[in-house]
Symmetry: C2
């Protein structure tokens, strides 16, 4: 089967200068893949011609790289409401429309998160039985062979227990299909102070998840604390979107802070600079294990179609990972699997 | 004025083998300091004699190091309710009692967090106008000269807007006094997705904080996201205890994960081990900037007395920092300052 992925080629901080080369990089790796690049056709065609002029398989690659014109672009700081109401021919909207119309199996955008969520939700609608979509992404663990998926990372706030239960089911289905884990271990994010076992939301959700575990609907293993996320003992971590987003952003900020001090320490003087050169293979190795670019591509889960959100500042390699994530989810037919599963357990 | 600090000498993972040498280390630095070590007097006296036998100022130091007997110890995994009800002569309880009775200006414990919070709350009570105590601690920023204080880190869950407002006032008073900042910049932890400006709690709290800023009660500067915490632009970050605890634990877990990969990369083979030796001064420098031990000592703020919570696994240097934190708060008379300020703005 030929997979077709639509790409918001104008989205992100760098637009076509990142999205087009990333698309070319990915298409060379998958013989049965077609990519639809959505955006200003003049700009995109020029970029494609520039990049594949010297390539030996130029014509063949070009055949599977379709440009679909869209006349507008959603700015990175544009209000979601405005984008949704006024920019009906934006590259973002058209990219999602192609999924809705069955012309693409999944889509990717590095555009404005709020606008993407609002547009995807509006165009694709949630799956029957799913009240709210969630954002799910992978995080590293101390086991280099193992990643953990966490949701919701910020699609919603003020979630109720039933929403967290739905997130648990959806995260479980996705992890099962993509990571090929038969019974993904699902944990509920909580705090561990001895006298306070969670807030009201956690208490109510615990009840639903415990019942679901008793029915074999999900493999619920209990609470995980913030530091347990990285231990590799759990496959899916479930939480409210406010908390998930704070945790994610805190991780980003902390990594930047550590990188800042590392850079400062290694560039202090000529001796530390020499040490930096000597240590660079080891430092690169550490960075590679934790590289967020390798995990670029958060999915809006729970919609009638797959939408992968790339980081706005993604470079070519990171954006290519986001496209790969969309391919993987499309190949595994994730929305249909969630629909089937949710139909059985939530409807 | 002589400052007196009571210390739960039996608390923490290592008990007297860490608390006693840390106490000796600190007492040598402060001529007008008296420390009361609370716990099994046989054990503590033996430990003190062992440590100061060879010290030139042995008798002088010993004079300011008082042993106060307590017959029981709260285990690290003991339930707070049980500790509170059944162990009335625990080193933890007696340590806090000394503050209550005016025999110590502040106290420190590395014991069981839940039991410490429950006992401190029960014995000392909150200040008038304060509904709930909070846990406040410092975090690093990319500016090595600047730390940020964050609360609540887990004393409460399901906080209401008025509680977060009280936390903002208390955090502001503490930062003003200890860090000597005239108008500490207070930020409210939020998530930044463009269409969802915070959850219900944030919306309600925003209103209270904006009014307080208009009245010059606090210097409220608006929202901070998870990654803004470390930028050094804000002095106090306010959030619900569930979220604060998740963020804190997530940071701990991430730092451990990075350290794990760094260790693995540097011990891979003989070459990387040599590189580790060469790079060690730089690596130590990085670790020093971010050393959580330097920031050991979270304060239970909002009580009628100062209680500093050390990390259970603190080593001597880290426990000494927690004692220094208690000294600093006692010297600045923090509970009285909060009482005055809260009396003006909250009652």
């Amino acid at each position: 089967m030929q997979l077709i992925i639509s790409i918001d080629a104008m989205g992100g901080d760098y637009g076509p200068s990142v999205t087009v080369p990333a698309a070319l990089q990915v298409i060379k790796k998958h013989a049965n893949l077609k990519l639809i690049l959505v955006g200003d056709s003049n700009v995109l065609n020029a970029k494609i011609n520039e990049l594949i002029a010297d390539s030996p398989n130029a014509s063949q690659d070009k055949e599977r790289l379709i440009v679909h014109h869209a006349s507008e672009v959603v700015a990175m700081d544009e209000s979601p409401a405005k984008a949704l109401r006024l920019k009906k021919d934006s590259s973002m909207r058209v990219t999602i429309n192609l999924v809705k119309e069955g012309k693409a199996h999944a889509c990717v955008s590095a555009g404005n998160t709020g606008a993407l969520m609002a547009t995807a939700h509006f165009v694709l609608k949630t799956l029957p039985g799913v009240d709210r979509p969630a954002i799910i992404s992978t995080l590293p663990t101390t086991n280099p062979q193992k990643e953990v998926r966490m949701l919701d990372l910020g699609a919603n706030v003020d979630s109720e227990a039933k929403h967290l239960y739905q997130f648990a089911v959806m995260g479980s289905v996705l992890t099962q299909a993509i990571d090929n884990i038969e019974k993904p271990k699902v944990g509920l994010l909580n705090i561990g102070s001895e006298d306070i076992k969670g807030n009201e939301l956690v208490k109510q959700t615990t009840q639903l998840l415990t019942e679901a575990a008793a029915n074999n609907t999900i493999n619920y293993i209990g609470y995980v604390e913030g530091d347990d996320i990285f231990k590799g003992d759990v496959d899916v971590v479930v939480c409210d979107g406010f908390i998930g987003n704070v945790a994610l952003k805190t991780m980003e900020g902390l990594v930047k802070t550590i990188a800042h001090y590392a850079k400062q320490a290694f560039t202090r003087n000529i001796f530390t600079k020499i040490i930096a050169v000597i240590a660079s293979p080891v430092l690169r190795n550490i960075a590679k294990q934790l590289d967020p670019g390798r995990r670029n591509g958060a999915t809006l889960i729970g919609l009638q179609g797959t939408v992968v959100k790339s980081h706005g500042g993604a470079n070519q390699a990171a954006f290519a990972y986001a496209i790969e994530e969309a391919i993987s989810e499309a190949a595994h037919n994730i929305p249909q699997k969630i629909r089937d599963r949710v139909g059985k357990v939530l409807l």
